[in-house]
């Protein structure tokens, strides 16, 4: 053994060697991470001080922002505790919108079974927000709805007639149901014959789908319609008529 190994220097070296695996973790994880985080936070603060208004006021800017985040693999809406949310205020904007969407859907569920057009949802949310609130675009609604999905209440979007139907109940809707909804979009109702003619289905399949929609409260049956029974989708009503169904009319139709 060399005499050189003994002494304060040697002891320090030995200690260092023991600590080394842990130090390497700190070097890898803590130091660059914390440093980078602080730097980034500063950049974000700077950006926020100049452009926070733009995000709040300008729906187009929000779209750009969201798409850029998605491209780099960042979800600015993942957490209210995230930097994006805290410093840019994006979080509160969308989370509040989420609350408003849930409330509108809940309020109308008894009428439309939990299915509403994106247009009607948009109108009603805007109305609820009042005239001094920030503008909200349909893109904003769509993003807010995507976030709501994580809470498992059956939130989803069904493409219909160039736009979407927003579903807010866990009713199971497969391709057959969706296709019938799309067929009904033009007039707000559909008949068995129309399904048979347009989709080339057999009567049984058409009836099976329509029965399911009736059971889930998404369709109402007008058996007194001239000719053939009509299956009406309340979700599609407001698109066509600007008045609500009166109680008398509602009595004629059976949910």
């Amino acid at each position: 053994k060399m005499r050189r190994g003994v002494g304060a220097g040697a002891i320090a070296k030995k200690k260092l060697a023991e600590l080394e695996p842990h130090i390497s973790h700190m070097c890898i994880i803590f130091i660059p991470m914390s440093k980078q985080l602080e730097t980034f936070k500063t950049h974000l603060e700077e950006f926020a001080s100049k452009h926070k208004q733009e995000i709040r006021k300008n729906p187009q800017f929000r779209v750009q922002f969201q798409e850029m985040c998605a491209t780099i693999g960042v979800d600015p809406l993942a957490s209210g505790k995230g930097f994006w949310s805290e410093m840019l205020g994006v979080g509160d904007f969308y989370y509040e919108l989420g609350v408003q969407i849930i409330e509108v859907c809940l309020a109308l569920k008894h009428r439309n079974g939990g299915l509403i057009t994106l247009d009607e949802l948009h109108q009603r949310v805007l109305k609820g927000r009042g005239k001094y609130a920030q503008e909200v675009s349909q893109d904003d609604l769509v993003r807010a709805i995507k976030k709501l999905k994580v809470m498992g209440n059956g939130f989803g979007m069904i493409p219909v007639g160039g736009s979407y139907l927003v579903q807010s109940v866990p009713a199971e809707l497969n391709m057959d149901h969706t296709v019938v909804l799309q067929l009904a979009e033009k007039k707000g109702y559909v008949t068995v014959s129309e399904i048979k003619d347009s989709l080339k289905w057999e009567k049984e399949r058409a009836c099976h789908v329509l029965d399911h929609l009736l059971k889930e409260g998404l369709a109402w049956l007008d058996s007194q319609a001239a000719g053939e029974a009509q299956y009406w989708l309340p979700a599609l009503f407001s698109e066509l008529t600007s008045r609500d169904v009166t109680p008398e009319e509602a009595n004629q139709m059976t949910p």
Binding site: M33, F61, G80, E86, M151
Partner: protein, 382 residues
Amino acid sequence: MDRFSWSNGLLEINETLVIQQRGVRLYDGDDKAKLDLGVTLLSTHRLIWRDIKNHECCIAMPLSQIIFFEEQAAGIGKSAKIVIHLHPVPANKEPGPYQYSKYSYIKLSFKEHGQIEFYRRLTEEMTKKRWENTPVSQPIPTGTGSQAGKTRAVGIVGIERKIEEKRKETDKNISEAFEDLSKLMVKAKEMVELSRSIANKIKDKQGDITEDETIRFKAYLLSMGIANPVTRETHGSGTHYHLQLAKQLGDMLQAPLEERGGMMALTEVYCLVNRARGMELLSPEDLVNACKMFESLKLPLRLRVFDSGVMVVQLQSHSEEEMIASALDNVSEKGSLTAEEFAKLLGLSVLLSKERLLLAEKMGHLCRDDSVEGLRFYPNLF
């Protein structure tokens, strides 16, 4: 109000101003329009309205949109109005303040009077229909600046210039914002790449990493909004933030849960909590991650997911057996129940009462009768 289009308020050649009146508020049908007080102008061709304070806010509608109009007398606390009934929106209408209206009429409310004269002039113009003799080529689109030779500012050159300046400044601000955004995103991307390299190193040193370090890393990911690439769970995908949140929720939800029969849909909780907070709201994921921690924190609440996917928070004290037993009692007493009827009975939401009935059915205590009239549950006598 959806018949109006944005306008710069400049009159066309051949278009003459007939009368203008201050202190006018617009109504969309019976509802106050989301605009403030303004000046309303009647020309030979159009009905124009401009915000008194914000001159850039200017809208117009061709007089040909008007079917007929009538006076509405003043009342106590109510100004006199002119109600104007309108043709449906034409397909080629330029954008305006309202995309859609359920009304086919508007009202002009004259806060500073002047309705008598305005009504008289409007009647005159609607009779003469001078716009038919001297048509203007097409509605003036906003924001594209003047089309040389087609428009002539009639005494409002200053306003046009101001609009143009404001627009240039706005454009400049926006392009600067976009530029800064791009630069920010480049830096954010670096953060994402760093997180990936750290995640890889963590994977390599699996077992050599302390829980504390893992939690710190998760907090880092949370701040940046980056999905967690390392699947090793300590407290779910939660962090200290979620831990604290879970405790707060434990306190906050006790009473509401008891009021609602021990169970609330997660979306209901989301609304309740965020409405109470007012700001610094929770994201849906924050809520889910916090609720996942109830069990490990030994709080008296649980997050539960039904087969349908519906997620609820329920009080631990409400045991499953009790719920099912009482559901069975209720159904037996009434002979049969639908989810709606059950909901009314318990004061629960239809969604949750349905879940309870389904659960009781799953346990074999109830059976169903599924018909077009609805889903009805009966005691299972088999």
